[in-house]
């Protein structure tokens, strides 16, 4: 992969949304958001369905115009070919033409760009060695995702969009995919990822942006976001009835999976004290900070809409 991260000033944002609103009929998908995507970082966009993630991505890919506000990619209107030449996108496609070979798909996309990566590097980068002559329709789900990754890299992009990229990949393929994405970041590229796997967001993100009901409700590193959640997670094996555990003061929720009881609470010390007093046989006690998933749920619950 050629080092082209310095084509423009390194501090220039890769993409910017400025006071952007998007409306579909009566529904406002984005309610005036500002967002700047930096280079050399992996930014993860999170949000429940309908939060406005898809609209934000479609704007930056130049697929739709905003109703108001500006969408810039490397300083150009995202709808212009000049902007699109520096962008690569991996999106969910219901059906890719199946009767073309892997290399034929790659060459078709390479032709769109003035300075495409050569075919061999793309095959190598996407892990498609040995599959070059295969028809797309004869690939497995994970292999198809890898072809889409190669297509996203075809133009040697400075800004890469990855929309649910690891769907259909097995654990090993997913790990090696993550390695490739991190390598792109080291190379100075901006990466914007949307995913439903919060574990993936936690593993990859330098920055997490949480969208909820068309607004940005959080924007920080994964660790900072997890800290904003006051609740902690207690796990233990206890002989107490679940209903009794739930009745303890400050317990938000308690679930039992097999032997293990998981409790979410803002006051871990108090709850642990009560548990130990009532159940002398309690064992396997663990107290941990909330996972990104808990933070996500808290941030996007409607009770916190004031944000």
């Amino acid at each position: 992969m050629s080092a082209s991260g310095n084509r423009t000033a390194a501090n220039e944002p890769a993409a910017e949304l400025q006071a952007v609103r998007v409306r579909y009929g009566a529904v406002e998908a984005l309610k005036g958001i500002d967002l700047s995507i930096e280079r050399g970082r992996i930014t993860v966009l999170l949000g429940p369905n309908g939060a406005g993630k898809t609209s934000a991505v479609r704007l930056m890919l130049g697929l739709i115009p905003p109703h108001s506000g500006r969408v810039l990619v490397f300083g150009h209107n995202a709808r212009d070919a000049v902007a699109k030449r520096r962008v690569g996108a991996m999106m969910q496609v219901a059906k890719v033409p199946e009767s073309l070979r892997v290399t034929e798909h790659i060459d078709t996309f390479r032709a769109y760009y003035p300075k495409p990566l050569d075919r061999a590097s793309l095959i190598e980068a996407a892990g498609l060695k040995g599959l070059e002559r295969r028809l797309f329709g004869n690939l497995s789900g994970g292999e198809k995702q890898r072809v889409l990754f190669a297509l996203a890299l075809a133009g040697d992009p400075d800004l890469l969009f990855l929309d649910e990229p690891t769907v259909g990949m097995d654990v090993e393929t997913r790990r090696s995919f993550w390695k490739n994405v991190r390598a792109l970041r080291e190379n100075g590229r901006a990466v914007l990822l949307t995913t439903h796997y919060l574990e993936e967001a936690d593993a990859l993100a330098d920055r997490v942006v949480v969208l909820h009901q068309g607004r940005i409700v959080a924007d920080a590193t994964p660790d900072r976001i997890k800290q904003t959640v006051s609740r902690r997670r207690i796990r233990c094996v206890t002989s107490l009835e679940l209903t009794d555990v739930r009745a303890i003061a400050a317990v938000d929720s308690a679930e039992r999976d097999g032997e293990v009881t998981t409790i979410l609470t803002p006051s871990a010390e108090g709850v642990v004290r009560t548990l130990l007093l009532r159940d002398g046989s309690l064992h396997h006690l663990e107290v941990a900070g909330a996972a990104l998933e808990d933070a996500f749920i808290e941030l996007t619950s409607d009770a916190l809409e004031v944000a």
Binding site: P65, Q92, Y112, P114, P116
Partner: protein
């Protein structure tokens, strides 16, 4: 060829289109097979020995009709159904995120539709020459081929509009609903001269009718070439405008 230019994309898209079509021959059966079958059945078997209309033998007359029928079908299905399917399945969306010039994409689909139009015409001509006693000069053949190829243009535009207005599943049905009645009313199955007066007056409003009249002019029938060519230019303008509107609507540019 320099990568990233319009012509480079046009060439590579055209190559992909051709590969896709020849690897899934099922697509070719209705597009190439039906006009050839109809011409063989009606032009050769049924009316092969009979005197036709407009002073021509039936095999020659129906060469113009079924040639038009084939070319229109290749354009409507190749262009319309092709675009509707790729748009509906998100493939065109992925391409739209790249700097691919949209006109190169449509141009490639149009070129391939026209190539199929030429193949259909050549097959009909071969059938006519071998089994229908059709005998024409090389210039006449070329002129017929030219008329039919250029005649595909308005239907490529209509196909493009259809591709943006119809969903991937409904597109083939809608294309047939346009194609088959329009072909009948244009006199592509039964010569207009044999139709009741009321239907004959409807034919004038059918774009394929005008192509078939120009095709007949190419094989030596006296027709008002300017009138039919003018009508086709008009239809092309209308279909193009429809295609542009449909494209802009889909592209989110015509919002309030």
């Amino acid at each position: 060829m320099t990568s990233g230019t319009f012509s480079a994309v046009l060439v590579s898209e055209t190559r992909s289109e051709i590969l896709k079509v020849i690897r899934v021959p099922a697509f070719l059966i209705p597009i190439i097979g039906f006009p050839a079958m109809f011409y063989a059945l009606f032009g050769l078997l049924m009316f092969g020995g009979s005197g036709g209309a407009a002073g021509l033998q039936m095999p020659t007359y129906l060469l113009a009709s079924y040639g038009t029928f084939g070319v229109v079908g290749a354009a409507l299905f190749g262009m319309g159904v092709g675009v509707a399917v790729e748009r509906g399945q998100g493939w065109l969306t992925l391409k739209s995120a790249t700097p691919m010039p949209p006109l190169a994409y449509f141009g490639a689909k149009m070129l391939v539709s026209m190539i199929f139009g030429v193949i259909i015409t050549l097959i009909l001509c071969t059938l006519g020459t071998l089994f229908g006693g059709v005998s024409m000069s090389a210039t006449t053949w070329l002129l017929l081929l030219l008329v039919l190829t250029v005649g595909a243009v308005p239907f490529c535009a209509l196909g493009c509009a259809l591709g943006y207005l119809a969903g991937p599943n409904s597109a083939p049905a809608i294309a047939n609903m346009i194609y088959l009645p329009m072909s009948f009313l244009s006199g592509l199955w039964i010569p207009v001269e044999f139709m009741p007066k009321a239907l004959q007056s409807v034919a004038v409003f059918m774009p394929p009718y005008h192509i078939s009249r120009l095709a007949l002019a190419a094989v030596g029938v006296k027709t008002n070439v300017l009138l039919h060519a003018g009508a086709l230019v008009g239809f092309t303008a209308v279909f193009l405008a429809l295609a542009v509107l449909a494209y802009r609507r889909d592209d989110g540019r015509t919002w309030g």
